[in-house]
Structure formats: C-alpha cells, structure tokens
C-alpha cells in the first residue's frame, strides 16, 4: 500500500467533481490515505454550497474494492497481473511493431473527457509526435 507522502496529508483537499460539465468545486475530507467525505465549496461560483447526488457519493467510488490495482496482460486468453515493466514494454513493442509493419495510420488513440487537460494534451502529443498519426479523438459527441 502506498502511503501518502507526509507533505500531502491534508484534512480538506479542494478539487473539482469529475462527473458532469458543471464542474462543482468541492472538498475531499481525507484521513491518511482514505477519502472519508465530501463537502461542497460554499463560495465556488458553480457549486455555491450545493452538490448533486453524484457528487455526494464520490468517496465510495474512489475507494471501491473493484478498482484496478495492477497492470494486466492477456496470457492464454486470460488477463493476468504483471509488472509495470512488462506491461509497458509489451504495449510499446506492439505499438511499435504494428506501426512499423502497417504504417502509423494503422494506430489509433482514444482520449477521454474524464481525464485532465494535461493528460489529454500529452496523449495527443504522444499520438502525433511519437506514433506519428492524427488518429486521435474522444467521445465529445457521445
């Protein structure tokens, strides 16, 4: 179990609800490395002291036992836990091989409206500068 680095232990951490496009401001109440509650921000221009039912239920989802905790790789038809090194090396090798054999246009990347701006930026940079394709999209229209 990763411990929260000392300097990161905080009581209330201000953040933004990850669900709808309203983007409510809220505080996650933390004890050690557990999120134990949510508080709407009183002065945030969108939430103004209020969250909808999805926002209030966030802690349970963050700490859900079904969260993925290890990289998985398909072996003999089944997904099995492997190390990060193995998972990353395998993925990079496959992307590299298919790109080399069939050209970069055989590769595609789907970004996500649930990830941060920085992650989306980096993923499109990865697609364009590393994989050398503009085959990148996300589900804005869905």
């Amino acid at each position: 179990m990763n411990a929260v680095p000392r300097d990161r232990v905080r009581e209330n951490v201000f953040t933004i609800c990850p669900y709808c496009g309203c983007g409510c401001g809220l505080y996650l109440r933390c004890e050690g490395d557990q999120v134990v509650g949510v508080l709407p921000s009183r002065h945030h221009p969108v939430s103004r002291g209020n969250l909808c039912v999805k926002g209030w239920q966030l802690p349970e989802v963050i700490q859900h036992p079904a969260r993925l905790t290890s990289p998985l790789r398909r072996k003999n038809g089944r997904l099995e836990p492997v190390s990060w090194d193995e998972a990353l090396a395998y993925c990079a090798a496959e992307l590299g091989r298919i790109g080399a054999e069939h050209g970069p246009e055989a590769l595609g990347v789907l970004a996500s409206a649930k990830c941060t701006c920085e992650e989306n930026y980096l993923l499109q940079k990865f697609a364009r500068a590393v994989l050398k394709t503009n085959n990148i999209d996300h589900c804005a229209r869905l």
Partner: protein, 578 residues
C-alpha cells in the same frame, strides 16, 4: 460543436453558468437539464423564481419541461423547421434586432429570403407544434431584453446536428442576444472535461487550441517545441476507429472535403505524400479512460471490429467492458489521486489536487503516457502536471495565461486567457465574433436517417438519468446511487403499452435493425405515443446495440436520439394471452 463554430467562430458556451440566473427568457432545447446538468437547472429555477420565462423544446415531457411556461413538444428530429418557424414570426412581428444584424453579422438576406418563403402550415405538419404555441414562444423570446439558449445532446445527436445548432445560433443573432452578459447560446457539455479534451486537441483535425493540423504555420510551431512535426492530414474520428470505417452519413455519401475538421489544407489535400488510403483499417488502439464497448452506437458493430484488432491497450480505473477485451490493461489513478486541470462547460479551467495515493500500483495517466513514450524512444521528462501546463500555455493561445500557480487558491480562469495578466473571459463575442462577423446559415428540414415502418413502428430516444453518469463505469460502483436507480428502465407511453398488453414493471424486449435488448417497462406520460425512451448507463441493457451510426456529415456526431424500434413482451409470443 461544429454549428457554433461556423456561425460564431467558436464552439464553446458563450456565457457563464451564473449568468443564466439573470436572463429574462431562457430557451432550453434538447436538454434534460434537471438530470444531466443539475447546477444549470438550479440557475434556471432561480431565474424563474425571479420572474424569468422558460421555454422548453423537447419531444419528452421532462422535469424541466413540466416547469416551463411553454413546452413545445415537437416531433423528434424537427428542430430545424421549428426554429425557422420561430424566426419567421419574429421577423413578421418586427422583433428582429436590425442594428445588431447590420453591424455584426453577414448573410442575413439569404436567411430573410428563405424565411419569407417558409410556409407556417408546413412547419406545423413537420413539427406537430400548433401555430399559436409557436407564436407565443416567438413573441416571448423575441421581446426579451436578455435571452439565453441552452442546448445539449438532444440537439446535436442528429444527422442534422450541426444545422440544428446553426439555426439556434441564427435565432440568437436575429434578436441580438449574443454579445452581452446574461444572453447567448450555451451548449451544455455532458462530461466534466469534454471542453478540456477538445481544447487540448484530442481531435483528429485540430492541434491544441483549435489550430488546424492542415495549417502549415501551426504545425511549424508545434514542430519547434516537440522536435517532430505533426502529420499534415486529419486523422480518423472516434466512430471511424471504433467501427473500423467512416460512419454512414444521413444525407448521402461522406465526402472528406465537406467536413470542416477534415478540410484539406490548400493545394495539399488528397495528393499529400504519405496520406493513407482511407480504406486501410485501424489495427491497434490505445484507449485512455473510455468505454466504447458500452458508449458507442451500434455496439455489435464495435464488438466485431474490436475482435479484428491486432492489439488493444486500455487504461482505466475499473475493468470496464472495453478493458476486459484488452491485451494489456493499465490501472489508472482517479481524479482524487492526481494533479491537473478540468475545464468545465463554461470554459472555466480549474485545478484538481491529489488528495490520496492511488490504490495498489495504479499510476496517473500522465505517468503512463510518459513511460510509454520513453519506451518508444521519445523521452517526456515532466516533473509535474504544472510543467505540462506550462508547455500548453506556450503552444495554445487561448490558454496562454493559464498556469497552475494562477489557478491555485482561486476559482479557476475562463478561456480565452491570453497572457499572465489576463483575467479570463466570462462571456464570449463581446464587440466582435471570434470569426469577425456572425454568419447566418440557412437550414432546411432534414428527416431522421431512420424512420418508422410497419416492422419498426416506434422511435427510440436515449439519454441519461440523474443518478448515473455516462457508461456508469464509476457511478454504478456506488451502492447508494445503484439503490436509487438500479434497473434499466424503458419509458413507454401508456397507450402504446396498452396496445401491446404491457404492464408497468414487466420485462420487455426492444428490437431494432441492429440488435435487441431487454428492459423493464415504465409506463409514463413523459414520452408521447409512438416513442420510447431508455438510458445508456447500464451494461446489462446495452441500449447502444440498437442505435445507429448514421452521423452528422460535418460534426460526425452519431444520431443517438432517434432510431426505429419494435417492442415486445420479453416472453415472446408464448407470453401473450390469446
């Protein structure tokens, strides 16, 4: 949001959420606001309490429609003739803002000529909205000093989605409801960072900040920063990747050059050296935090295409339907376990902060992408998300002044924010439109790609509920949200149910040309006769097995909102009493 981009030059919400509260008239179109955007609905309620008037355009009698002063229950897919009808009445009654049209817009005469010829009786036939109702709505909106239009996927998820948006933008320009505070056209973005993902260039035709990949100067700027020049031709869209081919278009053959996102740059275009043969397929997909095996239309088609892939990698926080099919799965950190920014529907870039450590060995997507990139021989040495944002600010003019240190301790910044001194922009198009002059576009009625017939006599409409979010990959993991909303329900008008001897709570089977799915029947007056309505959050009732990939030609937005279906008792014929 291609429609707003062609009309105004920018596809984002023109106002801030709080401005809605001060509007005099609010027109809500194709948005189940109460359930999908609770905070926007709250502002609409507050405005109503203050005496504002509310007009709702929706085939269903949704919660917000019940609250409306005027609910225009149009036939699904008839948004264009309805708005054209509203504009004709506004012109006839001399409620147009002539000064605004003269100073700020172009192409008005084309629209005026079209509207003069428009026959309101024909509009009635196409929309099913009575002429008196149409007139009342036009007078309400036309006479308002400050009117806001909010729309959502009910407007865009049609074969004519782009044109649907254009007519709404026309309506706002005709009455001068654009350039000011508390008035405008506001697309409500469904997911929390759709706006940010678009802004960051997670689009096949756009580099960050909506700089077209076909623009050589833009490519040069990125090449200078990255050391590698991005490819010069637009890539494939989501549906082309998940279905292995470009989606069918509702109005004739898809032609690359019709799409603004896919416009070839000048003399280049199809003759560009190295431009791929569009027929060659995708063989490997890398998916970050998406679940196309539940969210995309015509799911059986997606599943088949995924089986044909040579390689599939997925990064997600749960083992979603898509991750379960992958060759390699990366455990990702969730929003509470990382730093970064989300951009909400009102263009507000806001900081999120790591509160706890990710579970087990999970890593943030930032770390995962950087590690993959390293393996492929392109090092990405960022110490933090803040450092990535500095690179974004350098390359993306609308984010030019957005740095983590400025965001910390405040309530975020609304783009465009050009430099470190810029305070951000609460509402767009003050003094001038992003594209210079706002352009009126004439749009005519376009029937849905699929219409009902004897075999498939009902129209299926899809959407979301209050308790769940998107494919439910997160919310379905909450016991409380699940207790409140556990079963995939299908709303059926009591008259249609009676005709098929279906009782409330009974299991029913819904069949389209592409597949069949079981639901529990919920009899409801919210849907008009001839229409059923279901949600797409549930893996056990993957409604998108039924939907079509017919898409808007320009925005490539699939027509989720309409497809033709047939309804049966789940027991089949044996279950039916003689």
């Amino acid at each position: 949001m291609a429609g707003l981009a062609t009309t105004f030059g920018s596809g984002a919400m023109t106002n801030s959420i709080n401005e809605i509260e001060a509007a005099e008239v609010i027109l809500v179109s194709g948005s189940n606001t109460t359930e999908a955007h609770p905070q926007v609905a709250r502002r609409i309620y507050a405005a109503k309490d203050r005496g504002a008037k509310l007009i709702v355009i929706d085939p269903r009698r949704t919660a917000i429609a019940r609250l409306a002063d005027l609910h225009l229950a149009l036939k699904p897919g008839s948004d264009i003739p309805l708005i054209n009808g509203l504009m004709k009445v506004i012109l006839d009654e001399n409620l147009a803002d002539d000064l605004f049209i003269e100073l700020r817009t172009e192409n008005f005469f084309a629209l005026r000529d079209y509207l003069y010829r428009l026959d309101l009786a024909e509009v009635y036939r196409q929309t099913g909205v009575a002429p008196e109702e149409l007139r009342r709505a036009a007078l309400l909106y036309g006479r308002a000093g400050k009117a806001v239009i909010c729309y959502c996927l009910g407007v865009t998820q049609h074969v004519c989605g782009t044109a649907n948006v254009e007519v709404l933008a026309n309506l706002a320009m005709l009455t001068g409801n654009v350039e000011k505070e508390d008035a405008g056209v506001d697309p409500l973005r469904g997911q929390n960072n759709v706006q940010g993902a678009c802004d960051m260039g997670a689009l096949p035709g756009m580099l960050p900040g909506y700089q077209p990949v076909t623009d050589p100067e833009a490519r040069q700027r990125f090449a200078a920063a990255w050391g590698v020049e991005p490819p010069a031709w637009p890539g494939r869209t989501l549906l082309a990747m998940t279905h292995g081919r470009e989606p069918d278009s509702g109005d004739g053959p898809v032609s690359k050059s019709d799409s603004p996102a896919a416009k070839p740059g000048g003399a280049g275009g199809a003759d560009q050296p190295g431009q791929p043969d569009p027929a060659s397929g995708i063989r490997a997909l890398l998916i970050m935090g998406e679940n196309p095996l539940l969210s995309d239309p015509d799911l059986n088609g997606v599943a088949e295409n995924f089986r044909r892939l040579d390689f599939l990698a997925v990064s997600d926080i749960f083992l979603t339907e898509t991750a379960a099919q992958a060759d390699v799965v990366f455990p990702a950190a969730c929003f509470a376990e990382k730093d970064g920014c989300f951009t909400n529907t009102e263009r507000r870039v806001q900081l999120i902060s790591r509160a706890v450590a990710p579970p087990g060995q999970a890593k943030s997507d930032l770390e995962i992408i950087a590690a993959l990139s390293q393996q492929l021989g392109y090092p990405m040495d960022y110490q933090s998300a803040a450092e990535v944002m500095e690179e974004i600010a350098l390359l993306t003019p609308i984010y030019g002044g957005i740095y983590h240190d400025r965001l910390a301790g405040g309530w975020g910044l609304q783009w465009p924010c050009w430099d470190r001194q810029h305070p951000g922009t609460p509402y767009l198009h003050k003094y001038y439109f992003t594209r210079g002059r706002g352009r009126f576009a004439v749009a005519e009625h376009q029937p849905p790609a699929e219409s009902t017939d004897a075999d498939y006599p009902l129209l299926l409409n899809t959407g979301r509920v209050y308790h769940h979010y998107h494919t439910g990959s997160m919310t379905r993991h909450s016991a409380i949200l699940n207790r409140e909303c556990r079963h995939p329900l299908l709303q059926i008008n009591p008259a249609d149910a009676r005709a098929r001897q279906i009782a409330g709570g009974e299991a029913v089977r819904l069949i389209s040309r592409r597949g069949e799915v079981e639901f529990k029947a919920e009899l409801s007056q919210q849907v008009p006769p001839g229409m059923v309505y279901g949600n797409f959050h549930f893996a056990e009732a993957p409604i998108n097995q039924l939907t079509t990939t017919a898409s808007d030609r320009r925005a490539r937005c699939p027509e989720y909102k309409i497809c033709a279906v047939r309804l049966e008792k789940a027991g089949g014929d044996e279950g039916r009493r003689p």
